[in-house]
Point group: C2
Amino acid sequence: MTKPYRIDNLQYANWSEKIFRQMREGGVDAVHVTIAYHENFRETVLNMEQWNRWFEQFPDLIFQGLTGADVRLARKTGRTAIFFGYQNPSPIEDDIGLVEIHHRLGARFMQLSYNNQSLLATGCYEAEDPGITRMGREVIAEMNRVGLVVDMSHSADRSTFEAMEISSRPIAITHANPHSWHPALRNKSDDLMKALAQSGGMMGFSVYPHHLKDKSDCTLESFCQMIADTANVMGIDHIGIGTDLCQDQPDSIVEWMRTGRWTKQMDYGEGSASDAGFPPMPNWFNDNRDFDNIEHGLRAVGLTDTDVGKVMGENWLRFYDENFEAAS
Amino acid sequence: MTKPYRIDNLQYANWSEKIFRQMREGGVDAVHVTIAYHENFRETVLNMEQWNRWFEQFPDLIFQGLTGADVRLARKTGRTAIFFGYQNPSPIEDDIGLVEIHHRLGARFMQLSYNNQSLLATGCYEAEDPGITRMGREVIAEMNRVGLVVDMSHSADRSTFEAMEISSRPIAITHANPHSWHPALRNKSDDLMKALAQSGGMMGFSVYPHHLKDKSDCTLESFCQMIADTANVMGIDHIGIGTDLCQDQPDSIVEWMRTGRWTKQMDYGEGSASDAGFPPMPNWFNDNRDFDNIEHGLRAVGLTDTDVGKVMGENWLRFYDENFEAAS
């Protein structure tokens, strides 16, 4: 049997040669990396410039991925394809013309909001969710046209349902888990996950402790059983991995993620004053070398080889093939 | 005989559907368009956004060209491929990382200076020319690496000779004429043109009246004889067309080209206080429909069909094929 493709559809690590080598050791064919939380256009381009430097420095380990074909090229050449994405629409500022510019530069996922209200949609921490805005409708259509995937991981429910309705192409929840398994604000209801699957969308399961039942103490078995259970809710073809791995980040980064430049106060997001920093990872997933644990865990809860392959990367690869290029 | 490819390697028109249709009427397969004179990064991207809008509005007339293959695609599909270029390094500001970003966005030519001293090289109107700067050497190497062509049309002589020496790939003078034919400051010496050809570079002949013998009264025969004479100096394989067509531009634009934001005074560039605006075009070249005149004129001064084909576009196409992609 050919080894199935292995894709992690969300990381925000403090990347380094060490981590790129761990991606290779872990047999990870592709990673969707967050390169903007609150960055404006120019700041996002600076982050791309840093990646270009890494691509030039480590051509035997990584290269920029633009299409599903690049995941196959990565496998064939023993490297990891890196796909860019944003957790906020801040990189397009107030300019719809920047959607196509970002796609040309390689952006493949963009969240319409990150916790707060944006120009496009409502975030999951707002008290009110008025749904997709006027500009949001325009930007979704433009994202559909060029092949930039709508990601609603950090958005509020009404906005998310409306995004699925408005978008002519499938959307994604790149990193979250079922609310029924762990009732975090960021986790998603069964109704939302069902609608996501019915519209052809994808959900990536997160290993970020605040999204896990029992947080850092979550067992591998519990995580994998949750995946098996979600397959029964959404179907096996609409789920994958999106670890939200924040490896080697200092706690100042989680503060940046949460507060950006929108407040002068501290906001603890999913944490709290007594637990403000990055939470410790579960012992079965610390870095890119640990995907075998998840694969074995999925087999242990009864998934077939074919289904394990779908979850570990084949589903994301199909989604990449269908959604990263201009609409025909 | 197959009709040779027809490429205009420099225009800065006030583009419109009318002009795009004239490109098609004139059988122009590709145009290198200037999209920045003094624009910074963000302003250049705004100009790209305007072009993206035109590509979306007029897909049957134009599309963005990235490689020589796109010129062939243009011919095959009856459209004109539009290649982006800059007449100043202002779009990279002081950031070498922006070279690769611009190349990804489609830039294929960049002048190292425009009349004045830049961070990289000296312009042709400066009193002193200290040659390529420290940053200039770095940026040339980066342009060579990614496939962004060095253009020295508006640069001073020493800087131009040094650029040829430093650059590991051929450079271009996209729009100028021989100084021996018309002694304008912008026109180039035989020595410079010979060195350009010897280094594999290309020169595009300009129809901008300030570059022409007898200016607006220049005859087609004089222009075409100049091309035939230059073929004897440089060789027939290193010359092409770069009209510098500024069709439909208001005189405020020539002021922008000349003064940008670098002075609060008026600078008349190649014009004068009594002749400050755009000069009238010669009667045999007013717009993209007039390339047949040049082609007939070249035959009339004795060029063979093969040589006419080289000048009208085949040479630029070879140059595009060899210089628009990353160095191997």
